[in-house]
Symmetry: C2
Subunit: 382 residues, 2 copies
Amino acid sequence: MNPGRDSRSVGLVTPQLARFEEPLLLACGRELSGYELVYETYGELNASRSNAVLVCHALSGHHHAAGYHSEADKKPGWWDECIGPGKPIDTNRFFVVSLNNLGGCHGSTGPRSINPATGRPWGPGFPPLRARDWVHSQARLADRLGIDCWAAVIGGSLGGMQAMRWALEYPGRVRHCVVIAAAMKLSAQNLAFNEVARQAILSDPNFAEGHYLERETTPAQGLALARMVGHITYLSDDAMANKFGRDLRTGTLDRGSESDVEFQVQSYLRYQGSQFSESFDANTYILMTRALDYFDLAREYDHDPVAAFRHSRCSFLVISFSTDWRFSPARSREIVDALIAADKPVTYTEIKADEGHDAFLMPIPRYLDVFRAYMKRVGDDH
Amino acid sequence: MNPGRDSRSVGLVTPQLARFEEPLLLACGRELSGYELVYETYGELNASRSNAVLVCHALSGHHHAAGYHSEADKKPGWWDECIGPGKPIDTNRFFVVSLNNLGGCHGSTGPRSINPATGRPWGPGFPPLRARDWVHSQARLADRLGIDCWAAVIGGSLGGMQAMRWALEYPGRVRHCVVIAAAMKLSAQNLAFNEVARQAILSDPNFAEGHYLERETTPAQGLALARMVGHITYLSDDAMANKFGRDLRTGTLDRGSESDVEFQVQSYLRYQGSQFSESFDANTYILMTRALDYFDLAREYDHDPVAAFRHSRCSFLVISFSTDWRFSPARSREIVDALIAADKPVTYTEIKADEGHDAFLMPIPRYLDVFRAYMKRVGDDH
């Protein structure tokens, strides 16, 4: 690619590191003595510091949401479809902050980091985290950047859950909350898939109860399996059918022998799994899926989402996708119903899309149009 | 239980073994020099030998479909809800044959059996099988029992696929074909889940490339994981929600610590997985899922299911369940549409049920009523 030539790209970006020395009290009751967050920014903070947007990533995401790290990069950041000049999150108007969550494995303090108390990697001893811990750690980053109030906090999937938590934890610091393909809490089926993914990792002998770094191994097979399970749930049945059908990679089925044949979908999944296992940390995966499992928007509000949302003071955009069966439109409608009952301003749209949960990353015209129109209002509203 | 006291149970049953010495040519081109099938029968064969019904089991099923093996048995056979005096497959009228498929691990010749050529267990060297191989092996059992023509061949899930294959391979030997919660072939998503299940087994070091019996190990963790994946797909999202919700086994989520808490659905899945891994053979699981993957009703009929069904000479009952997302009602309607286009008699019903794919094993009143009414016709029609 040539980032300089693409007028709709944010171009070359350089990650930055922020170190926080003040201890962070976590939801689990433990304290992190200090931590680092790696982040990127796109666009310029205006003089009134009123145009800042926080992008929250999903389960396996990271800070690199848009643009390129070098001229040689083949792929841009994970949400390049939505972030850039003229895109829904328009970097001509907004100052966009995207960070790697605490507990992550892409540069922020997490299980791969050194535990200062022991001088060895945290590994499985890293404290369990909740979405509110991310929100609190991010609030300090906002302080550091001089951002009193986000024009918008935006996220898809787990990122959407974080965005809602922001609206409840810091009602005075969020003007708009954009919640895409998310839910107020996981269903039993969601929990079940996460459990299978974790068991796949835990049962890989190379996981070594989480101490694989010290043993210089990596639970690649377990992590690959976990990803395969997750990946199936991100795609709709139709999307898989359209993408692969029952096509074979090679060979023929006629003779009924299987040594020389393999379905496309199977080799695709194996590839996805093995790619992921090379770039992700197993302890982080366990930590992130547990944060998802335990997320329950209204738990501290007597399990009443209406009571929970009454604390918010922002406007909401909620988006769901028709074939998303991981966080289905019904889950988004629950959010919308609670917001309406709490008398909060909310815009909702269900986008017709074949891509399942993954649709939130795709350039689906109506999705981008709705998102862009809403963000235009956000930009005008200050 | 006391089988003698339950007037709707077939009571105590004893499995029987049939040995076939004549070689069986398999779809893969290899030949099995001989084989054994373990089976049970319920009810009495009538003088005209016209009341025999074949029950085909699903992926992890076996021959023990109804009644009890001993007074101490706590649970009856896997389809006891549907087989017995006065039940849909009424043993007062029908002579029911239920067997363990070739390649199985409950007594029929399979990967755990001794390969006569080597004197050691077949293990991973057992030939790959197709549904047609099961049908051919079962036809010889029918010969042995003196059954020229089945009053009905009946199966759910993979068993339903076998029933359809019977109707095409031996059109003169099937009067009625009952296809429950099945499909003419697997979707890409089905293939993907089976792939994950197999990878879970293959990546367990105790699998030892299938030679675990000789090494006196067992890939219990891999098999448990495979079962967990499968199990999620057998249940609907709603069924899981009704059964478990987000209930905890112990403890509380308030503090956000996870050491003392666990969701019910997670411990349930782990229990299911570990139970299964003690009773099932890993090589058989791989063999059965591959047979499922490669099943494609119309492959040899130029991929035209109408042309395929034109070969059948029986009547069909097709049943699907509203929340079954493994083999959804849409898959059953494809079967029905092809049968109608082929001008074959077919009765179809979609049963409203919350239980997902597992519904075919459940005592859902309308399901049992429809099934019973059809089987009454089968019984009257000879």
